[in-house]
Symmetry: C2
């Protein structure tokens, strides 16, 4: 199995190399054979090869079975023309590889609850996943242009685009708490009316799954007031962008949250939910756990290695419960031990044994 | 001065009649002459006159100096065809009267902080206002239609539409903490790029005001992690819909939050930020304070009666601090006194003396 590794910018290289160490240890232990191939992306793609998504990177990814990405972006790229900015690399790889399903699990870690901005009792049992459509809607709709003193973007969805992402959400719900929350703005948008119709249609195939429709404004409230009430949330690209970032800060564990962007087949791109944190790059301060958790998602979703994925996830929880934490996590108590990026990776590897 | 009163549905009639009582008391005290004219809107507009925004209501509003609205909507209207639903009345009145600037202040009340989903220390000093563009963007852009198996909506803004709302935000910031946070998605949307350009241009007229640009996904996070860092937030229609609802639950005071929707001149529509709560309608349980606070905004924005507005706002705070609260507010301690809608209005009137 080949894994493309795209470290990207900022803390990207540190956290991906940590996750690769974890994957290597695991493959030895279980007798798998993973080979890792590196590619440039984002600002470092531009610096090395003149483009945020170089052709060479795209071709590496197309030949791989899964992709592990660090993060892209940084202030030094702010002056580049829009089409060469780091985030264009991200948008391009999603579209080129048809990674239409973005999965963002949000899970509360007991050891981190005090760091949550929310009252402890609100977030204790939080365990949901946002399924965001990633290759349609306002992000890619045409026209998207300036017309004299007017600017236009287009929110467009086809039945088939909606159906495949909604189906993904129901599939997931079947393996979890059997509940789907579909988020739209059907009281205003035509695209949301179509969205809701298709959701109703797909739901008939899954009679065991409970379905609720929530308007996007109400969903933004409910994420804060009743986060533990959700299981699988499915929504279109722009709403998903906003709600998944909102959701990522609820439990105080932003540095812990992975993400997966999947194609119809087994190919997927895995990356931490956090950004490239250029302010602490190269200082052995970054938290590698979200990337390590992303590697676990990779094993589960692209390689069907469920046991191996669980080994990583349990090791991360155990490491946290033993008091190990990087500077971004607030862990208190007598067993609290603050460590750097590399030591954190060492501890996870130790706890995998 | 004429005030159009549109009670609407659910608890709308109870809370507007409470606010009218407050306005009447105040007008006697200060020797003003307010006359109130009633109109139908929403579900009750449909029931009484066959449309969620009857012609008669629109004509009453056009002849008035300000509009006080309760709330619209309820499950019994769910089966109506889309163009007759209660919320269409709301969208139509905004567009017909060109109420382009929606102001949603979010303020923490000391007496209510324990009801906040957030940890107390995060919300103590929260005092910001969201300025949402209300008559453009995805809500009204054309085309908005079904094309075979595809559905399309259009996000469109002109320079002039952006300029007038952004100018409003800077004007407001000048009278407050001198800070504007402009929210967009300029790394993806053409309309956001134009938005950002215009914001930069308008900002030059206000050198004393600090400006920051925040992407909408980051803004959804920052509202939760650092709500006290904001002063005036300005954004387009759909982002404003999502962020203002998100913001409304932060301080535990949803039942307290007013809103104003303003035209270029002094005309404005004032309504509570909460909904029509059909489950408790007609039971003397509803919290009238958000509507009473909306009446204060009406006095300040449409009538330039600043002292009178402050009298109402202080009376509301004093009433809360004396322990009076409706069932939706969680107030504890030895002086906590739970009251119904009418008694709450009585208390506010008493505290105005
Ligand atoms: C960088 C940006 C274009 C991207 C998005 O909006 O999709 C990011 O916010 C994300 O959520 O992955
Ligand atoms: C009822 C609905 C159309 C409306 C909107 O989306 O503007 C409401 O959510 C609001 O914020 O006033």
């Amino acid at each position: 199995k080949t894994i493309a590794v795209l470290p990207g910018d900022g803390i990207g290289p540190e956290v991906t190399s940590g996750a690769v160490r974890v994957l290597e240890t695991l493959s030895q232990k279980y007798g798998h054979n993973f080979s890792f191939v590196k590619g440039n992306i984002g600002g470092s793609g531009y610096e090395a090869e003149g483009h945020p998504l170089p052709e060479s990177t795209l071709s590496i990814c197309k030949k791989s079975d899964a992709i592990l990405l660090g993060a892209v972006g940084g202030p030094k790229y702010d002056t580049l023309p829009a089409h060469l900015r780091p985030e264009k690399g991200l948008l391009a790889i999603r579209k080129e590889l048809e990674l239409f399903a973005n999965l963002r699990p949000v899970t509360a870690f007991d050891a981190l609850l005090d760091a949550s901005p929310l009252k402890r009792e609100r977030v204790t049992d939080v365990d949901f996943i946002i399924v965001r459509e990633l290759t349609g809607g306002l992000y890619f709709g045409e026209p998207s242009e300036r017309r004299g003193d007017v600017a236009v973007d287009t929110l467009v969805y086809s039945e088939q685009e909606i159906e495949r992402i909604v189906d993904k959400a129901f599939q997931l719900a079947k393996t979890r708490k059997q509940k789907v929350t579909s988020v739209d703005k059907a009281n205003v948008l035509e695209s949301s009316k179509l969205w809701r119709e298709i959701v109703e249609k797909v739901a008939q195939k899954y009679p065991e799954v409970t379905l609720e429709h929530v308007l996007v404004d109400a969903a933004a409230m409910k994420l804060i007031t009743e986060p533990a009430s959700f299981d699988v949330i499915v929504t279109e690209n722009m709403f998903g962008d906003i709600l998944s970032d909102e959701a990522s800060v609820l439990t105080g564990s932003l540095g812990m949250l992975p993400s997966a962007s999947l194609r119809e087949d087994k190919l997927g791109l895995y990356e931490p939910a956090h950004g490239s944190a250029p302010d602490i790059a190269g200082q052995n301060k970054a938290n590698p756990l979200a990337t390590i958790m992303s590697a676990a998602l990779l094993l589960r979703n692209s390689f069907d290695l469920h046991e191996e994925a669980s080994v990583i996830e349990r090791a991360v929880t155990d490491t946290l419960n033993s008091g190990y934490h990087t500077a971004d996590l607030s862990v208190n108590g007598s067993n609290a031990k603050r460590v750097g990026t590399q030591e954190m990776v060492d501890q996870v590897i130790k706890h995998m044994a």
